[in-house]
Assembly symmetry: D2
Homo-oligomer: 147 residues x 4
């Protein structure tokens, strides 16, 4: 499966007193992975999206499972893939693993919006092309983008 990789070592800021990662911090990592993917893989940094492009890319839904906890010092390897590229949204899949152990498994939808009004916006063609490299099943979704 085509995937973008990002490594994060669990730090003090990620953990709560019982010693495991605090739920909201997983979602900060998710955002960090996505922002790095946008920048490095799509050449579309968030500073441009929200800056000169006047857009934003908020989540409209997200769903997560945590099969086993992560602890201070664990090295989490994140993998990001695209489940579906739609006209103005994107359905992502992310997993965080330590060795063979899956710690977190997430799917969620981001919607491309005009920052001022939060009205949806069609993907720029050049971005849509680059996203296809990360599609879990590319053929199934190319048509949707072309709609």
């Amino acid at each position: 499966m085509p995937a973008y990789h990002y490594v994060h070592d669990v730090m003090l800021r990620d953990c709560e007193p019982s010693g495991i990662v605090f739920l909201p911090r997983y979602f900060e990592m998710v955002h960090t992975v996505i922002e790095n993917w946008l920048d490095e893989a799509l050449d579309w940094p968030m500073s441009q999206i929200q800056g000169s492009d006047g857009l934003s890319l908020p989540f409209v839904n997200i769903s997560a499972e945590f099969p086993s906890p992560s602890r201070l010092g664990d090295r989490l390897t994140w993998r990001l893939s695209v489940r579906e590229l739609r006209r103005s949204s994107i359905w992502l899949e992310l997993t965080g693993t330590t060795g063979a152990d899956t710690r977190v498994s997430i799917t969620g939808t981001l919607v491309l919006s005009e920052a001022a009004a939060l009205r949806t916006r069609r993907w720029p063609d050049a971005i849509a092309e680059r996203v296809k490299d990360y599609l879990v099943a590319p053929s199934a979704t190319v048509e949707k983008v072309a709609e």
Copy 2:
């Protein structure tokens, strides 16, 4: 529906540069609502759960929808109810609204665990009794607890 209420005013720490609440901050609010519910409604503060009781109460799954964005200064009214009380876990439902506008709708499962080993633990009877006041459909789940 029986529900615990908690009011949160959206502050700078909750928002990102496009002006809307940053996804991970919703989950911090969720945790704050739950910790206040445990303390005020169940008389079982997290400092006791993780302290003298030697337990922890991590999420094993969570699912959220964000029908419309929240902004700096918005007053979010959170409502927490219990969908199901199981032997050693609890299935919660939380919504955050501003006026008639639903901003976030969440369901998630917390598992009662021994802090050291993260092995599951049966609910203390006294706590299970108090939880029942917040059940969406109490009759359906009392038996499960009694198993």
Copy 3:
């Protein structure tokens, strides 16, 4: 000494695995105290400052001491006073205590700025009047504002 009070109970989100409050979280509390003071005591909510007023109020310096640690469940009582009101900045003093125990003692300077350019701005007269109620030594600084 005239002071604005704000009570915060230490929650999971504030603490790191050794069980004490994580340094950056004290500064989140500081910001929360200041934003509540602006709203409740000065009737000048941050949503107005950054919204219709087109201003921002960032720190240019801050200094903190932590005589003893805070833990999960501790009730921190914050007190905010004004050390000096200057033409376009304000020098604040904040302390956080649990019972007779001082946990954190902070001084810092906020500068009123035009949001776009981060150029300094003179305090609105009505706001300056209200700030004076929180001055540690009011007589000494009234003149500075009147400059």
Copy 4:
């Protein structure tokens, strides 16, 4: 001056609605720089300090200046040096710059403590040796450690 370097790109999680870095997030970066220095330069990861070593390393004071603001997408280069190595504490200096522009300048003291009691502890000799490589003026402080 001997210094440890760490690069951080400013992300959504670091910024507030006016577009600049939110004060508490600078202190999260500071902690991240220190934890990486402990791990990479001193070979003493926080997971060992708080784990098998049963210690903690909290701040007892910190002081910061922010000469100019940082924004989404800015690349901050952090530099960490040691101002003084004392029997059971360490006085650090950190700066964050973007190009020739200093964004944040910080000094602070960390105290080595027994995690349970927060009693101070003498530095392990091997760690003290490695710290000396980062001293701003090594000769002045070697004696203090040897006390």
